[in-house]
């Protein structure tokens, strides 16, 4: 029987997800779905106050239930290390990391204060409802507007954070310029709310060993954290996350459920699972609330004379989360005078953290609202305004970009959208009863690269396995890893198995910052090239040397064979080469050198860019807004898989539409409590809110940026999208809204 001819998978092919069938048939197991014998279930009891002291936890009712194994609180928990350094992780921020059940202090509303552990989930949940907690409350503040009165610049900054760089004299230039705009902009806090709730299954293996199935974006980060906190030796902690149901950054740092499940497992020496509820998903990390003052000035032709961009973001009382908010506009626009100031302010919540394009999704979006206002003040078409003030280099630090095809993105996006047919005056376009608005914005994000290791193993039949401890959080990492491997060794995609999501695999960075495709992709290509080199050496062992001692540059790898470029009839199958050398397998484990592919990490700026065009239709009387069309043109270097990449951009755009129109955390500041903590009332776009979205990938060859020329696409789709929509709402209605989301009430006035 012959198998059908399969073609070599190539980088750039729009392949289907290799894990798609497993996901849609329920074969893909997530953190809370791994069966374990004798498993106990933990139900988290959350604090009903915001700040103060737990006086007493009345758990007699819960303990009276025979199936309840334990009620774990700060009074009976196993011993924990006393110093902060034990609780830090690879991506933690300066301060004192939260320790659940450590002591009697309540630091934020919804804080986990007890875990009821029982033989069934239902019993644990019921028993939790019987627990009564006595508190001693202290005054708190969750209102960011109030907190801003004591905003500050922390001395200790997170290692990846660099303050924005000012240039020239922006305030003098602003004062002297003929045309200017200034406004305060605001976004609320956003909760990541991936589809999959945060969950951990801790398997007690005995002999001081645990295996943890965790919802995380970095299994090795969780491994190191659990080892440090709970006193395991690192090799005795194995963390697996083969499938992750979205995360958007909420799984970058070890989340409190994995801490609680491990603490309970250690206390009881049993396997324990803890799954948070949707309500509890509003009790931990979130995108910070942000205010931004943007002042811009131009000459009479619309050339920027001054940029002033000050921002403040929220953090907790116990850690100083900072993100890059102010830089993006200063980088992207040519202007001799620019100043930026970035501060943080404390509220009594959990620490804010990275969420999809942290700092840029808010900072660049709000900046792009101001740019639109400036363009109108200068009577320049908003797209033209961006081209007039285009900067070919990073305007903030003067370094060249490895590539910046934003001009092409603007041109291709505008052409597809039909921007030239736009009439500039607000309220000048109509469709029946509805006002029509066309808005534009641009976006920018980092193209990061981090050293990553991978393993490759080839069998004589051409089956190839590649592995790295990276995480696929739904972005398509399995697929693009398999694709890069298949491309390198000239195999059909079906011959490649990618293995991810296991701390025991070769070291990988956490999945965040849109760097995984570039970083893990380079590692996979590197080890697959290593396999190819070994294959070629093996081929030389074959009697008669059919390839004539050819070197790597003389041969191609395709269809499971090595062939001479000069004479394709002279070829050897992988299997023949391996058997000639007496090899059962060829294995390589390594990481590519930091500077491979001619990259120079320090001297150039590495960024993705986009241009977004939005059409809205607004009912004039009722202020109902519909986003009828989006065109987004993305310049993100080489695209490994246009299909999965497009899905990432679509997801980012949908999230951006949610920022523009829907998403908002509603806190009762008297209580310090998020009140819309469920999906009925915390609104994200429904299907009806999403119409046509067209994604264009602009050709942007960039051999310098990363070894594969890949820049990453996980985040660039959200940056600026809300600005395009809100600018379109202005064009439709003539109304400027400075505080997102633009809900009906804000247009009604």
């Amino acid at each position: 029987m012959t198998s059908p001819t399969r073609t070599t998978a190539r980088i750039g092919d729009p392949l289907n997800r290799v894990d798609g069938v497993a996901k849609v048939t329920g074969q893909a197991r997530y953190a809370a779905e791994h069966p374990v014998e004798g498993l106990l279930y933990g139900w988290v009891v959350s604090s009903g106050i915001t700040k103060g002291r737990i006086v007493r936890i009345h758990d007699e009712g819960a303990r009276a239930l025979p199936e309840v194994v334990e009620v774990m609180t700060h009074t009976n928990r196993p011993q924990l290390p006393p110093f902060d350094h034990s609780y830090t992780d690879a991506v933690s921020v300066p301060g004192s990391p939260f320790r659940a059940l450590y002591d009697e202090k309540a630091l934020f509303n919804g804080q986990p204060i007890a875990v009821v552990i029982a033989g069934t989930l239902e019993t644990a949940r019921y028993a939790a409802s019987l627990i009564d907690v006595e508190y001693e409350s202290e005054s708190h503040n969750t209102d960011f507007a109030v907190a801003l009165t004591s905003q500050f610049v922390p001395n200790d900054k997170r290692s990846t954070f660099e303050p924005p760089q000012s240039r020239g004299d922006a305030h003098a230039a602003y004062d002297a310029a003929p045309l200017k705009v200034a406004a305060d902009f605001h976004v609320p806090a956003y909760y990541h709310n991936p589809m999959e709730m945060h969950a951990s299954t801790v398997v007690w293996e005995g002999n001081g060993r645990i295996t943890v199935y965790d919802k995380t974006q970095g299994p090795q980060n969780v491994q190191a954290y659990l080892a440090a906190v709970f006193g395991f030796s690192p090799e005795h902690v194995r963390v697996k996350n083969p499938y992750v149901g979205g995360a958007f950054g909420s799984g970058l740092r070890p989340q409190y459920q994995v801490y609680l499940a491990t603490l309970a497992a250690k206390m009881l020496e049993r396997s324990v699972r803890v799954v948070l509820t949707r309500q509890q998903m509003f009790s931990h990390v979130h995108r910070p609330e942000t205010v931004q003052t943007v002042a811009l000035a131009t000459d009479t032709s619309g050339r920027l004379q001054a940029i002033i961009n000050d921002a403040a973001t929220s953090t907790s009382r116990f850690e100083d989360y900072m993100e890059t908010v102010c830089d993006w506009g200063l980088m992207n626009y040519a202007c001799e005078n620019a100043s930026a100031k970035y501060t943080i302010a404390r509220v009594d919540t959990y620490t804010s953290g990275d969420m999809r394009a942290p700092g840029a999704a808010t900072g660049m979006t709000l900046f792009e609202l101001a740019v639109d206002e400036m363009a109108y003040a200068a009577s320049v078409d908003p797209l033209q305004f961006r081209l007039i003030n285009y900067s070919d280099k990073n305007a903030m630090d003067g370094t060249p970009f490895t590539s910046k095809a934003l001009r092409e993105a603007c041109a291709q996006g505008a052409e597809k959208f039909g921007w030239s047919r736009r009439t500039p005056a607000p309220r000048s376009m109509r469709d029946g009863r509805e006002l029509v608005g066309w808005g534009v914005a641009t976006g920018i994000w980092d193209a990061l690269f981090e050293k990553t290791s991978a393993h490759a193993k080839l069998l004589p039949n051409g089956d190839l396995e590649v592995a790295t401890a990276a995480s696929d959080i739904g972005t398509g990492t399995y697929t693009v890893m398999a694709q890069v491997a298949a491309d390198t060794l000239g195999l059909p995609i079906e011959k490649v198995t990618a293995t991810l999501g296991d701390s025991a695999l070769p070291k990988s960075t956490v999945e965040g910052g849109s760097k995984l495709a570039a970083s893990a992709g380079a590692a996979v290509q590197h080890v697959c090239r290593g396999v190819a080199e070994k294959l070629l050496v093996a081929a030389d062992q074959l009697e008669g040397q059919p390839l004539g001692g050819a070197r790597m540059e003389d041969v191609t790898f395709a269809q499971g064979r090595i062939a001479l470029k000069s004479d394709a009839t002279r070829s050897i199958s992988f299997g023949d080469a391996m058997s000639a050398a007496g090899l059962d397998t060829i294995e390589v484990e390594d990481s590519p050198a930091w500077h491979s592919g001619g990259s120079s990490q320090t001297r150039k700026s590495r960024n993705t860019h986009n241009a977004i065009f939005a059409e809205v239709k607004v009912d004039e009387e009722l202020c109902v807004v519909r986003v009828t069309r989006i065109v987004i043109a993305v310049a993100a270097g080489r695209i490994i898989n246009p299909k999965t990449a497009r899905s990432q951009i679509l997801g980012g755009v949908v999230m951006g539409i949610g920022m523009a129109l829907h998403e908002e955390t509603a806190t009762d500041h008297r209580l310090g409590r998020v009140m819309n903590h469920n999906f009925a009332e915390y609104h994200i776009p429904a299907h009806a809110d999403i119409q046509d979205i067209e994604v264009i990938f602009v050709d942007e060859p960039d051999p310098e940026v990363t070894p594969l020329g890949v820049k990453g696409v996980g985040e660039i789709g959200i940056v600026g999208t809300a600005a395009a929509v809100v600018n379109a709402i202005y064009h439709a209605t003539g109304k400027r809204v400075h505080s997102l989301p633009v809900t009906i009430d804000k247009l009604l006035v």
């Binding site: 959350s46 009903g48 239902e122 949940r125 019921y126 409802s129 309500q279 029946g432 009863r433 509805e434 239709k617 009912d619 009387e621 009722l622 202020c623 109902v624 519909r626 129109l661 829907h662 509603a666 806190t667 009762d668 008297r670 209580l671 409590r673 009140m675 819309n676 903590h677 469920n678 009925a680 009332e681 609104h683 776009p685 429904a686 299907h687 009806a688 809110d689 809900t743 009906i744 009430d745 009604l748 006035v749």
Partner: protein, 337 residues
């Protein structure tokens, strides 16, 4: 969720008998009750499953009306050809609510008896007079974007979340109820209550009483009607303001009109004065605006929902226009007509 016992009633009499005990809830579609149990808002000691009761039919009534069984699903009701033809306002309102999955499970009786979506009612860590009498109202002075502007009390500013009920109010439906004492028929306008000083009572049902059917009178509003729902996204959100209009016209003159508002009060809101004021008048912008002002007379904002007063007025005017023009709001095309 607390522990509870469960019984499946074989017939109406058994259900009523079981349902008369304290701390018992009837279980039909469960789309609201089960959620509330998971949140520890509802903590029944016993559930009486009524899904086997013979209340699953839609029957023609003598004289041209329609009887909707209490256990017919919202989806089956909305897509019933008789409902679509004779009561398109009702079909439209049902399809404006929830999601297809929920409408497939939720029943007509359950729709009437669903509880408010007030954030504080749903969160046992906060005060709520409806959930825990005497504990206070967290929504007053709190987060109250979705709360009532009409008919609220100083003890409760919750709204009734149903879309279907707004149409039923406009259609002058009747609720058929059975119970330990006798069968009753309750006019729709009398079925739901205002919160007053007993906000825990959503409706006029007495202990043990069970909704068996909803009767629709034989009146024809199929030419001039609309259900216009405004919300914070284009689907799958509860109404900020919704308007059901049933109208009859003689040329340009209105012979009869009913207007019911949703999302603004503890019950679907009607104003006999506004309706009778429009009768005999021209279907004009000025008259519609005047009616809108009468309908929202006495409206009071709570801070977060002040905008709903103006929004309600504009929505009433637009809905009256839609009905007069014979261009009812589509529930699939989200453009407002």
């Amino acid at each position: 969720m607390n522990r509870f016992s469960y019984v499946r009633a074989a017939g109406v009499a058994e259900a009523v008998r079981e349902g008369s005990a304290r701390q018992v809830r009837f279980l039909a579609g469960g789309t609201n009750l089960v959620d509330l149990m998971k949140e520890n808002v509802e903590r029944p000691q016993r559930l009486v499953d009524i899904n086997r009761l013979p209340l699953h039919k839609i029957d023609d009534l003598e004289g041209g009306g329609l009887r909707l069984g209490a256990l017919v699903t919202n989806a089956d009701t909305a897509y019933d050809p008789r409902v679509e033809r004779r009561y398109p306002l009702l079909a439209s309102a049902i399809l404006a609510g929830a999601s297809p999955q929920l409408r497939n499970a939720a029943t007509n009786g359950g729709n009437l008896n669903q509880r408010t979506r007030c954030y504080y009612f749903y969160d046992p860590a906060t005060a709520c007079n409806k959930r825990q009498p005497g504990s206070g109202c967290g929504a007053i002075g709190g987060v109250n974007r979705i709360h009532a502007i009409l008919g609220a009390s100083d003890q409760c500013i919750a709204t009734h979340p149903s879309d279907m009920c707004v149409a039923l109010a406009a259609l002058d439906a009747q609720v058929r109820v059975t119970g330990p004492d006798a069968d009753r028929v309750i006019a729709f306008s009398e079925y739901h209550r205002l919160p007053g000083d007993q906000p825990w009572r959503d409706n006029d049902l007495r202990p043990g009483e069970l909704v068996t059917a909803i009767d629709l009178p034989a009146e024809d509003f199929s030419s001039h009607y609309t259900y216009l729902k405004l919300r914070d996204r284009l689907s799958y959100a509860f109404a900020l303001v919704s308007v059901a209009v049933a109208m009859r016209l003689d040329g340009e003159r209105i012979t009869e009109v009913r207007v019911a508002l949703g999302g603004v009060a503890h019950k679907p809101w009607r104003s006999p004065v506004a309706e009778s004021g429009l009768a005999g008048e021209k279907a004009s912008q000025a008259n519609f605006l005047a009616a809108a002002h009468v309908l929202t007379e006495g409206a009071v904002g709570q801070g977060g929902n002040d905008f709903k007063i103006e929004l309600a007025r504009r929505a009433i005017v637009r809905a009256l226009k839609q009905a007069a023009n014979g261009t009812p709001q589509s529930q699939t095309d989200k453009r407002v007509f």
